[in-house]
Amino acid sequence: AEDQLRGEGDDRDGPAGGSLCANPPVPPQPHGAPPPADLQHPEGQEAAAAAGTRPWGCRRTGQTGGPRGGGFGSPVSCFPLPSPAVRGCAAPPVLKHQLYSLVRDRTAVDRQLSRLKDEGLIRLFQLGFDSDVFGVAFTQDYTAKVLQSVAGKEHAGTVRRFLETAFASCPELSYDNGRMLRDFGFRDPDITQLVNAGVLTVRDAGSWWLAVPGAGRFVKCFIKGRKAVLGMIQKAKYKEILLSDLQSRRAPSAVKLGLPYHIHDLIGAQLVDWYVTHTRAGERTRESWLPAPLLSPLGLTLLPEPGENPGVLPHHPSD
């Protein structure tokens, strides 16, 4: 399994500029369980690597996240940054389901993210377009981004107070009225200011999700890009395409966040089936895609499965 993951990392290098770092620097492991043996990219590695090596806001193209509203650090340069000409869609946040396409074991991803969240190293926040989609960011990155985007506005004081009290003390995804009022003294006008600033977004009557300012613009780019990449696959013959083919194609103009970003998003959200095919010579050289129509079950295997299938599809029980 380790070899396969390393191989896939190489396969995913595309001319779009994204490259998966196959050997991230060794990180501080989250204490508790040791990572499972087959994980090549345990969460701690990527997360800490991103924190340590990459100053937030600096990009390979040399720009800093400044007046455009900044963005989040991409973990270990997994996602290439969009060209400087793009407005409003600077470095995108990492989505939780994108991690599923990098690490095989989804349960391990969830549990380690939960542990990191409880320790306060990362925060999960809602982006607003689907209740199942969460963005992941380091706590310090998040606070810096929020402070930067509210700098100079009149609710900056409330936001700062929120970040210092409620945000810092409870590593939760959502806040409810009772606790905000009782423990931290935020009254309704304060909460309205927080919602206007984009730090909170409505979940239910009297409870709010943690959110990030500027999410709306990001979501717009993201949905357009996702539809465009999915369209590229659906227009292909037999609705399937080799991964290397897809990466070598020129991204349509609607894709502002970069092809690899959307590829990880589609695989992780299981909007496409992804499996390994073999050439006639029996070597494992290709990976293909078969987009699952969005509302129908997985498990459409049109191509034969000679030998091992380390990917999403299950192996035959007679193995």
Partner: protein, 395 residues
Amino acid sequence: MLAFISARQAGLDDPLRLRRAESTRRVLSLELNKDRDVERIHGSGVNTLDIEPVEGRYMLSGGSDGVIVLYDLENFSRKPCYTCKAICSVGRSHPDVHKFSVETVQWYPRDTGMFTSSSFDKTLKIWDTNTLQPADVFNFEGTVYSHHMSPVATKHCLIAVGTKSPKVQLCDLKSGSCSQILQGHRQEVLAVAWSPRHEYVLATASADSRVKLWDVRRASGCLITLDQYNGEKSKASSEAANTAHNGRVNGLCFTSDGLHLLTIGTDDRMRLWNSSSGENTLVNYGKVCNESRKGLKFTTSTGCDPEFAFVPYGSTIAVYTIYSGELITMLRGHYNTVDCCVFQPNFQELYSGSKDCNILAWVPALREPMPDEDAAKQRLNPAFEDGWSSSDDEG
């Protein structure tokens, strides 16, 4: 297998270990077998199946046309090729047949003298198996989605009924009354399940995305509302926003030891919960497609290690390991959506019913015969054989 047997014989291994290993091996090799099928009686989709817990011999099935059929699963014919025959049925011509689709059937947990069935015609009927007459009928205001009777209860005879109304009703078999109500859900209750570990603990799942655990002796309210984000469980007021899924919660199943609860929802997710603390164990099964508007009846294996969950997934059945979330295989064979499946723990067989009116039996594959010496010799291509023989007779 021989190693396990000799270790058991020598006392090196616990007796349970051999049994678990062999059960697991059998479950991993489940497949359709041409020698085994179930007689086809239903004229429309099969909604529910239940195997009696006493002997594992008789199976009930309920169909979309209101028909209930009773099958004998045991093979006394001394031939490997066997069709599970229907012994009797409550057909359309029966005077007390359900008017609409039967959603849930369940055997009485203690013996096969009685079974219960609930249907979209807003009734729950208690049947006497020998005479096939309803002994009692409970009427409700809304369609009944699901009912369940506790498999371990000795001190009560309550049947929990989930209907279109947000209130869960408890019907008492001993007194014939259905006055006890559990309030807390906001929309229709799609699935109910009693805990196999504690006789008073009930789990209910509703279209309002919530799963609640109740102790039926407690009048004040539910014990826990499951929260998929594992937020703080401080006060009941903060539980108002807890959701177990991001859509309707369709199906509930306790694991056989009752320590964990599996829930499945229309947000295409299946979640595993610790049933005593209500904590989400965060096991991720991936996308478990679920388009059912009513309940989805899935089941878990018993006596294996690791335990498996059999979940109807479109027209196939997906087999997952429960505690690690891995998809083992998809059992293909049905022509239309699979509605229900049930596991026979004594022989590690799986029976599944679907909209194509068939009940399929998935049996463990037979072991391949060991190749013996003669067979090995025969495989040699005669072109490579030489005429030289080393035996003394031929000199």
